[in-house]
Amino acid sequence: MAINVSIPTILRTHTGGQKSVEANGSTVAEIINDLDSRHSGLKDRLVKEGNLHRFVNVYVNDEDVRFVGGLDATVSDGDSVTILPAVAGGMR
């Protein structure tokens, strides 16, 4: 089961510049572990002490995983995962 994962500019050093990569897994944690097995160092950038890095947001189909189980959030075939750094909002 392949899930498409979108990688932000700042983390593309780990993916050889690729904007999106494929990964396998049924939870966000499994996806990250699978990514790390091929794109070494990625997990360290995303996960701190068992939780998502404070300035990293992960979305499954546009929904923030922190509200649907965090690293245990489930991912199914055909879902898309997006990783983004936290930034200040726009026209505030």
């Binding site: 932000p8 500019t9 700042i10 950038r45 890095h53 404070r54 300035f55 990293v56 947001n57 979305y59 546009d62 929904e63 923030d64 922190r66 509200f67 649907v68 997006t82 983004l84 750094p85 936290a86 930034v87 200040a88 909002g89 726009g90 026209m91 505030r92």
Partner: protein
């Protein structure tokens, strides 16, 4: 009552209007809170005035002072109006990639604009403003991202207005920027009504905006409290534009682009509730009207073209 002693007194008490065409069923209804009906045309009049009044009360802000604020638009415009009426100077730190209308309005009110680099978006505006604050200790930075008066203004005005007008409310949906609206309204509704669902719609920009030098430059507003939120959606320019146009075509509401993002989240929830046979009254915020975004081309041409034009812009 529609007579006020001054423009500032006309703040708030905005209409909540039903959306008969977009609501999926009789039992699942959508309601739009028209915050463009505030003195300068956006929801930001509420926190801007509240932050000024709090600083006046604390004695931090006195006649002739200069206010400094990182803002890419609406808050700056609200502050500029209030500053003009109250006799303050205003310096706004604004990212380069914001719409031309905002610059012109700020200049018309007499505000000074300091540009911050497009890359990094509002994060960079915050960084530049903090540097300017250090160099100019006599300037007063209100700092909307961390000023409790921001969220409190919504706790004391926006929230109570919504509950008064829609006692049967089940969901509140708002845009996530400083997080003041969601934290303030959300906390008020949670305090008044158990089981409230508070949903955030966060804009997803083009890559330029996320172009930080390192992850630790990332930013979460000091006001943010994730315990207030039930769900949080990230909405891209295409969906935001599609919903902005749909709101205009179906309900006659000419809203700004960020409202399209909020409506997208509200409709996602509404459709899910309708499928599950639930009853829901979903109130969402129309933060401003579309006037300030005409130059972005948001309302003309195909959606793909319009979304392309917004890439790299701060549209919400």
């Amino acid at each position: 009552m529609a007579r006020y002693d001054s423009l500032l007194d006309a703040l708030g008490d905005t209409p909540l209007v039903g959306l008969p065409s977009l609501s999926p069923s009789e039992n699942v209804r959508l309601w739009a809170k028209l915050e463009d009906r505030n003195p300068t045309g956006s929801i930001k009049d509420r926190p801007a005035l509240a932050m000024i009044e709090a600083a006046e009360k604390e004695g931090r802000l006195t006649h002739g002072c200069t206010i400094l604020e990182p803002t890419s638009g609406n808050t700056g415009i609200s502050l500029a109006m209030a500053a003009r009426l109250k006799g303050y100077g205003l310096v706004c730190v604004m990212p380069e990639n914001t719409s031309e209308e905002r610059r012109q309005i700020l200049q018309a009110f007499g505000a000074r604009i300091v540009s911050s680099p497009a890359e990094g978006g509002s994060n960079q505006a915050v960084v530049v403003a903090k540097e300017l604050a250090e160099q100019n200790p006599d300037w007063v930075m209100l700092y909307q991202y961390g000023n409790s008066a921001n969220a409190e203004s919504h706790y004391h005005t926006t929230g109570p207005e919504i509950l008064r007008d829609l006692p049967s409310i089940t969901h509140f949906v708002g845009g996530l920027g400083t997080t003041g609206t969601l934290v303030g309204v959300g906390n008020y509704l949670h305090d008044q009504k158990p089981g409230m669902q508070v949903v955030a719609a966060e804009p997803r920009y083009g890559e330029l905006v996320y172009g930080l030098r390192n992850l630790d430059e990332g930013f979460v507003p000091e006001l943010y409290d994730e315990n207030v939120l039930t769900r949080r959606f990230s909405v891209g320019a295409y969906d935001a534009l599609r919903r902005t146009r749909q709101l205009l075509e179906s309900e006659g509401i000419f809203a700004g682009i960020s409202t399209g993002g909020v409506l997208h989240a509200a409709l996602t929830i509404a459709e899910k509730a309708a499928r599950a046979g639930e009853t829901a009254d979903i109130a969402f915020i129309v933060a401003d009207a579309g006037w300030k975004y005409l130059s972005t081309g948001a309302y003309t041409g195909t959606l793909d073209e319009a979304a392309q034009r917004l890439d790299g812009q701060l549209w919400a």
